[in-house]
């Protein structure tokens, strides 16, 4: 094996950014849709883990990872529907319901996922873009999963769709003002219900990626807060899908910092590097929030920015 020395660090970070960012991309795109409709779903962490379990379980039983992804999407949509339906009622707090749904989703995933800790599931395919290089690290870094590419395409599509389609417009009207939406003859609750369901389905794809590609197994510690960080990431990305994609890449890179440094022999402060994505999220939140004005580009009806 050729030794590429310290060049391995940026390469490993790039590879990590591509590999680690995919769940962030899907969860943050899902949350962006939900938040654009004026509601926040903090429960996506639970949806993500439940999606990971569902995808893994179905893939083990049917031997098809894609059926696993579809099943995870269905399960995620159901979680979103439950959240959206409950939040429709007066006096119900969408943030608190999100926390409750997160605990419920985690509990149910651990409960139903017990039999799937042992067996191994078929993995999602990836495309080797690194064939031109002789360096194994480069080949490994450019071995890109199909879901990453779908996520990137989805980000561009959503960016376009928010501006140029009827559905995108309806979503934004509902998110900016329930009253304006009602005046247009739209039912804000229905729109938010559907937006939360779509958000849940996308978040569950992120979970399917975790269990079916990287790290590629199901266990109770499969997620370390990706679902929650993605919510913060949407705020940072100003509810812009392209911004979500770029922010997800940044977070993936931060998450890969620890393992990358370890691979070249830096072991000091190993655990602190694990905290890098959380510290980065917090720093970004601090830098981009303001106590006096609401955030630029924030949907007007969103409770988290008030």
């Amino acid at each position: 094996m050729e030794d590429i020395g310290l060049w391995g660090v940026p390469l490993a970070i790039l590879a990590g950014a591509i590999r680690v960012s995919t769940p962030f991309i899907f969860v943050s795109l899902g949350e962006a849709i939900t938040e654009r409709s004026g509601r926040i779903n903090l429960g996506l962490e639970g949806t993500l883990v439940f999606g990971a379990m569902t995808a893994y379980g179905v893939a083990v039983m049917t031997l098809s990872p894609w059926l696993g992804v579809l099943a995870a999407m269905a399960a995620g949509a159901v979680f979103g529907l439950v959240h959206g339906w409950i939040c429709k009622f007066p006096k119900v707090n969408d943030i608190a319901i999100g926390i409750a749904m997160m605990q419920f989703g985690l509990g149910l995933a651990f409960f139903l996922g017990k039999p799937f800790i042992q067996p191994s599931a078929p993995k999602l395919p990836s495309i080797p873009f690194g064939g031109w290089s002789d360096v194994p690290q480069v080949q490994a870094a450019l071995n890109i999963n199909v879901l990453f590419l779908i996520g990137a395409a989805l980000a561009v599509f959503l960016w376009w769709a928010f501006r140029n389609t009827r559905i995108g417009l309806i979503l934004r009207v509902v998110g900016d003002s329930s009253d304006a939406a009602r005046a247009m003859g739209l039912n804000p609750d229905t729109v938010r219900l559907l937006a939360t369901a779509v958000g849940g389905a996308l978040a569950a794809i992120g979970g399917a990626y975790l269990s079916l590609f990287y790290p590629g197994s199901w266990n109770e510690g499969i997620s370390s807060g990706q679902g929650l960080m993605a919510v913060a990431l949407v705020i940072f990305a100003r509810w812009n899908p392209i911004g979500c994609f770029l922010a997800a890449m940044l977070f993936g890179g931060a998450g890969a910092l620890g393992p990358a440094l370890q691979s070249v022999g830096v072991t000091q402060g190993y655990y602190l590097f694990y905290a890098a994505p959380y510290v980065l999220t917090l720093a970004i939140l601090i830098a981009t929030s303001s106590p006096t004005r609401s955030l630029a580009g924030a949907p007007g009806a969103l409770s988290i920015t008030k």
């Binding site: 707090n93 409750a100 409960f111 905290a275 939140l285 929030s289 006096t292």
Partner: protein
């Protein structure tokens, strides 16, 4: 977002006799209790359905849950021991909630409070008497916890950072920091498989309440709940917090020190969670290690919401959830259900209880303003 403050309403005395004010007072007080009980029943019914669908007997499950949680003196003591940290972590959620803040990062304060307690005890062992060490540990744990959760409040007020997300991110950072410390400078070389700090000698362990197999943490937790209740209901500080929780703008116009209230309340809340971590070290674990992140901070969220952020109501709710937690092992052994069964029940109860918030003010029985004028 706001969480409605529980402002007690003085019953208006009516011409129609003395019994009516009493009934009105009772009706208003009965509403939260009745709705909470209803929510618990609905939650248990849904959970039974889930268990029945899996082909297990819900009746057997509830029998085991009762037996494991409260069926014998042994299990009662077990439940009380598990309730002790929940009392403190629930306060960490309930106190900021009275100000309208949703803080869910108590786990971080527990973990760092435990590490701080263990770290400050190390140089004192052998030179200071146990009581002095406990006080020092308690103060260290509380200070670190206060700083950690207080930071969420500080960021909320000075930078407008959402406290829910910030506190949870801080919890993840805290766990990473703990791992860094107990694998590094604070590691006892003798702890091989499970990195820990040097264990406390037996005489420095916080003992049990006389006559019970329950450590003193329970007493500390109950006292903390009572103190918090007095703080909220009977001091001007607490009154100002309730006003600010009801309407921040109104509080600011009235000249209330909202920023000091927010930072102060989150810091007090964090100090309780830090204390919980320190008690885990000095009464249960004997050293700071990864077992500190056992999820007490997250169960505390459920306890606080179930108790509607009333510190006195936290006491029975924490004991109830401690009992459910304690019965997990028995259910696992006897019925072959996974240990996550308890988590499913907790999640179900949590969702249903928040859902039932929508029932407030809907029943004429609990709303004296809608009663017919008695002749």
């Amino acid at each position: 977002m706001t969480i409605e403050a529980n402002v007690p309403i003085t019953p208006l005395s009516e011409q129609a006799g003395q019994i009516r004010p009493l009934l009105e007072w009772l009706a208003r007080r009965a509403e939260p209790l009745a709705i909470a009980l209803f929510a618990i029943l609905v939650g248990l019914a849904l959970f039974s359905l889930f268990i029945a669908v899996l082909g297990k007997s819900p009746v057997q499950l509830f029998q085991l849950m009762y037996a494991g949680g409260f069926g014998s003196w042994f299990s009662v003591q077990n439940s009380l021991s598990r309730a002790a940290p929940l009392l403190l972590t629930a306060l960490c959620v309930a106190l900021p909630a009275r100000l309208g803040l949703v803080v869910i990062g108590a786990e971080g304060a527990v973990v760092l409070g435990g590490v701080a307690g263990a770290a400050i005890a190390l140089p004192m062992i052998g030179t200071a008497p146990p009581f002095v060490v406990w006080v020092a540990m308690g103060l260290a744990g509380m200070a670190v916890g206060a700083a950690w959760i207080g930071l969420s409040g500080f960021l909320r007020h000075y930078r407008g950072v959402n406290e829910t997300i910030a506190s949870l991110l801080l919890a993840y950072i805290a766990i990473a920091l703990m791992n860094h410390l107990i694998e590094g400078v604070l590691r006892d070389p003798a702890s091989l498989n499970k990195p820990s700090t040097t264990p406390l000698p037996a005489e420095y362990m916080l003992g049990n309440i006389p006559g019970m197999d329950v450590h003193w943490g329970l007493v500390i937790g109950v006292v903390a709940c009572i103190v918090s209740y007095i703080l909220i209901e009977a001091t001007s500080f607490g009154f100002a917090a309730r006003i600010a929780g009801g309407n921040v703008r109104a509080a600011q116009i009235q000249g209330l020190p909202v920023r000091r209230l927010i930072v102060g309340f989150t810091a007090i809340a964090g100090s309780f969670a830090g204390l919980a971590g320190m008690i885990e070290v000095t009464a249960v674990q004997g050293s700071a290690n990864a077992s500190l992140a056992a999820g007490y901070g997250y169960t505390g969220i459920l306890v606080a919401f179930l108790a509607r952020h009333n510190p006195l109501a936290i006491i029975p709710v924490a004991i109830l959830l401690g009992g459910i937690d304690a019965s997990g092992g028995l259910i696992q052994r006897r019925m072959g259900l996974p240990d996550a069964t308890v988590l499913v029940l907790q999640g179900t109860l949590f969702v249903v209880i928040l859902f039932c918030e929508t029932l407030y003010g809907r029943f004429r029985l609990f709303n004296p303003d809608l009663w017919k004028r008695s002749a």
